[in-house]
């Protein structure tokens, strides 16, 4: 039996703790594409696809949660694979605009799709995702990222980010790496969307638009994109701040903004700018 105060404490901060995990996963999804130098902002859209795919399965069809999770990764990954070929020919802000457009297209689709609740969204989603699911996934993902960045693939990704043309000349298969990064990003974001839907009981078409896309980008930029730990830290800070500052009442958002501005001015490369050392690297 848990002591009463601990029970109350966990109850109070439960959904904040869940958001920390979900947002950290979204930050990782952002990191994957930034790691190959692609400013693709489709993570919010992919998160929405994952959320809707899984919630429709559990709410409308009564599917088991693990199946819904698989669908939440497969559906956005497939979408990323299909749209990857045309969009990855774009670069820089053009890619960013195209991927934001994807989010808008999907939003209009959900609005006019009555089976998925239309503008009313889906409510009554069962609370299936918990602490173990969310943070277990986050840890597995982080470990995988560390291994990847210390491997041949990681070095290829770093080469693409540093100088795309040079990397291509050195024999790095640019289209394959970029597409793989986009698909991986979509799968992670979709999974985060499924977790979010299954802890907050309600999703709506307007939850995955431009605002959310920019929020996810800001996780990565605030934390720094040198290593996967940077974006995760950025997500933790940006998610926790508004709640930590709650005692300030009216001044809450002012101080929240002020702290973010200070970090951006004084730490322009993010809170954690360092890279992960490679095996056998000479100091």
């Amino acid at each position: 039996m848990m002591p009463h105060w601990l029970d109350n404490f966990l109850f109070t901060y439960q959904s904040l703790v869940y958001s920390l995990g979900v947002n950290a996963l979204l930050a990782l999804a952002m990191y994957v594409v930034l790691a190959v130098g692609q400013l693709a902002l489709g993570q919010a859209a992919f998160m929405g696809v994952g959320a809707y795919a899984s919630a429709l399965l559990t709410v409308k069809l009564g599917a088991p949660f693990p199946i819904a999770l698989l669908a939440s990764m497969a559906a956005p990954a497939l979408l990323a694979f299909v749209i990857g070929a045309p969009t990855l020919r774009l670069s820089g802000v053009y890619l960013a605009i195209a991927t934001i457009g994807l989010g808008e297209v999907l939003r209009i689709l959900y609005l006019n799709w009555d089976f998925a609740g239309g503008a009313l969204g889906l409510n009554g989603i069962p609370e299936k995702a918990g602490f173990v699911w969310i943070f277990g996934t986050l840890i597995v993902a982080l470990v995988a990222f560390v291994f990847v960045s210390r491997s041949r693939i990681g070095r290829a990704m770093e080469a693409i980010r540093a100088d795309e043309a040079a990397a291509g000349v050195m024999g790095v298969n640019l289209p394959a790496y970029k597409l793989a990064a986009l698909v991986a990003s979509a799968a992670i974001a979709g999974l985060a969307g499924a977790f979010n839907a299954h802890v907050s009981s309600f999703i709506g078409p307007n939850d995955y638009g431009f605002d959310q896309a920019v929020t996810i980008l800001s996780f990565a930029l605030l934390g720094g994109v040198g290593s996967p730990f940077g974006p995760v830290l950025g997500a933790l800070v940006l998610t926790a701040l508004p709640e930590v500052l709650r005692p300030l009442h009216d001044y809450r958002l002012v101080i929240d903004g002020l702290i973010i501005v200070c970090v951006v001015i004084f730490l322009p490369t993010g809170i954690l700018p360092w890279r992960i050392g490679r095996i056998g690297a000479r100091k």
């Binding site: 109350n8 404490f9 966990l10 109850f11 109070t12 901060y13 439960q14 959904s15 904040l16 958001s19 939003r107 209009i108 609005l111 006019n112 239309g118 503008a119 009313l120 969204g121 409510n123 009554g124 907050s200 009981s201 309600f202 709506g204 078409p205 307007n206 508004p242 709640e243 500052l245 709650r246 005692p247 300030l248 009442h249 009216d250 001044y251 809450r252 958002l253 101080i255 002020l258 702290i259 200070c262 004084f266 730490l267």
Partner: protein
């Protein structure tokens, strides 16, 4: 060095935060052991006009309850939390009020969307949560601890349409609604059902987006079918745009626009000017109601805040009295007892007679007033 300076800056910001938090925490501890209930409203951000109006209504009623001796021999107090109009923050606020402050009852949240997210949390913890401004369908179906004192659109809209039908002999209408937000869509569903029930023919149904600014295409279509009236479900800004388009296309004023709760705002007249004249809405309350309770409320509100109350303040004002009565009847600040007492409360306030249905919705629709806009102001439909 540079790094250390940055940390100092952060530390300074943190200390500043503590200094801000200090005074309010101290006053809370010093007050004479009040019965504290929670309230989650939009106090910051673009929709805070709703939350502030509601808070003003609560505070005004709170003064009166405490002047009359409070509840259970103790003063009543409200712990406010801001949701900023965000459903995740609404959940966090409800969790904090229940888990950290142990409130026996929660008022709010402001929007139906927030209630859909936060309601199940309170319900799971068996703490009554009372919405004062949530009008969407399905709110109270979330569980036995979810109440609301605001008349749902499903109760107000049929009264509005029926009154307009009798008054103007309306037989065929055009329907327009914003299909990209939950409030407008839910209002449209109610209108569609009510129109069918009243035997009014719908000639065409046109949709638009809440952030659209040009409605001439839809309005041209509406004009071509020549309806007796236009039924609109939208928030204030797009609704005002619809009214302006109606005037611009020369649809005569005798074709009334009949709106849902979104059009029930003085802002509609401010934005659309004389194009808004003739707009008909149903409202659970209106400022010119002639009974003494209401006149006293309006005068007290003006004296305290220097502005006119709106329907949200009025609903909040009545709700606090209803909740205070329930706490008195429960005999203890205990969630379970308050829940059982709440369902039995009968109260006559500024909205008229009030009681709950067994499904925890308001039972009485006799307070619904059908209003018509004339020269920028809503008055009773004559």
């Amino acid at each position: 060095m540079l790094v250390r300076r940055q940390f100092n800056l952060l530390a300074a910001a943190g200390l500043g935060a503590l200094a801000f938090a200090g005074p309010s925490a101290v006053t809370l501890a010093r007050a004479a052991d009040p019965v504290t209930i929670g309230a989650v409203e939009i106090l910051t951000g673009p929709n805070n006009k709703y939350g502030i109006a509601i808070k003003n209504g609560f505070d005004l009623a709170l003064d009166e309850v405490n002047k009359a001796g409070g509840v259970l021999g103790r003063p009543l107090a409200i712990a406010y939390e801001d949701s900023a109009g965000n459903k995740d923050q609404a959940i966090n606020a409800v969790r904090k009020l229940i888990g950290a402050q142990n409130v026996p009852l929660i008022l709010g949240p402001t929007l139906s969307n927030e209630m859909f997210a936060a309601g199940p949390v309170a319900n799971e913890r068996k703490v009554p949560i009372v919405g004062t401004s949530t009008t969407a369908n399905g709110i109270t179906a979330m569980g036995p601890y979810v109440f609301r004192t605001s008349l749902p659109e499903a109760d107000v809209v049929p009264v509005t349409l029926k009154t307009a039908q009798q008054k103007f002999g309306i037989k065929k209408v055009a329907v327009m609604y914003a299909n990209d937000d939950a409030f407008s869509k839910s209002g449209y569903d109610v209108m569609k059902a009510a129109l069918e029930k009243l035997g009014i023919e719908t000639l065409t149904t046109e949709t638009f987006g809440t952030k659209d600014s040009d409605f001439s295409a839809q309005m041209t279509k509406v004009k071509s079918v020549n309806p007796d009236a236009i039924v609109v479900s939208a928030l204030v800004e797009p609704a005002a745009g619809v009214l302006l388009a109606k005037k611009a296309l020369g649809i005569p004023a005798s074709v009334h626009v009949i709106g849902g709760n979104g059009l029930n705002s003085p802002k509609i007249g401010e934005i659309a000017g004389d194009a808004a004249d003739g707009t008909i809405v149903g409202s659970p309350w209106f400022i010119g109601k002639q009974d003494p309770t209401n006149q006293k409320f309006v005068a007290a509100y003006k004296a305290k805040y220097g502005s006119d109350p709106d329907q949200f303040s009025a609903q909040a004002y009545d709700t606090l009295f209803i909740v205070a009565e329930a706490i008195k009847a429960a005999g203890a600040p205990d969630s379970e007892k308050i829940k059982d007492a709440l369902i039995k409360v009968k109260h006559t306030g500024v909205l008229g007679p009030f009681s709950f249905t067994p499904n925890r919705d308001p039972a009485d629709t006799s307070g619904v007033a059908v209003l018509e806009m004339k020269a920028g102001k809503f008055g009773l439909l004559q």
